[in-house]
Symmetry: C2
Subunit: 115 residues, 2 copies
């Protein structure tokens, strides 16, 4: 029944969301595509939006999660730093643990769903 | 550091969200205020919106979570059924378990936040 529940974990830093489901997916997409614009495009968001999310992440943590290569903001590629990778892995682990922690109890509730 | 993380759990039933943070808060508010309109008002939502959420919950589960008293849809009061109470309690328990499951690991990540 795991498809009948979603858990969204958001880490807040002051007023900003430092990391959440969308930003984590964006990090995955940057790893896959090697650039912020391509990653954003793959997720159906504008370059500006993708860059804003990256910027928020980079400013929220003690070190950057994403660095861009030379060639201007639109030109070069981007990569997720080792630090960013470890944050992303830790976040995915949080998600897994949260799902696992409720799996058993969840079954009792979802059995009460009508559809 | 528990204030630096939020976990939102949503139970899906087909295309609808059967229960999530907003609907759970609405159930709490109906318990407190004894009517759907007063509960909605206390949460800053329209009567229509509050009723839509109640309707979705009632249709999503095998039995109603909220019943309205006589006097027309706007007139009488409303109460959360015993079934609704048990669903709400189970949902709050899921939230607690999810938070507890990640508390220790979370501390490691939040120490890496810059602000």
């Amino acid at each position: 029944m795991s498809d009948s529940v979603s858990i969204k974990i958001r880490l807040h830093n002051q007023d900003a969301v430092a990391l959440g489901p969308g930003k984590a997916d964006l990090l995955d997409a940057i790893v896959q595509h090697g650039s912020i614009s391509a990653a954003g495009r793959a997720m159906g968001m504008s370059y500006k939006r993708a860059w804003d999310l990256v910027n928020t992440m980079n400013l929220s943590f003690s070190k950057p999660l994403v660095v861009t290569a030379k060639g201007g903001s639109h030109g070069g590629g981007a990569e997720v730093t080792e630090f960013g990778q470890s944050i992303l892995t830790a976040y995915r682990d949080l998600e897994k643990k949260a799902y696992q922690s409720i799996a058993e109890d969840l079954e009792k509730i979802t059995q009460l769903l009508g559809g």
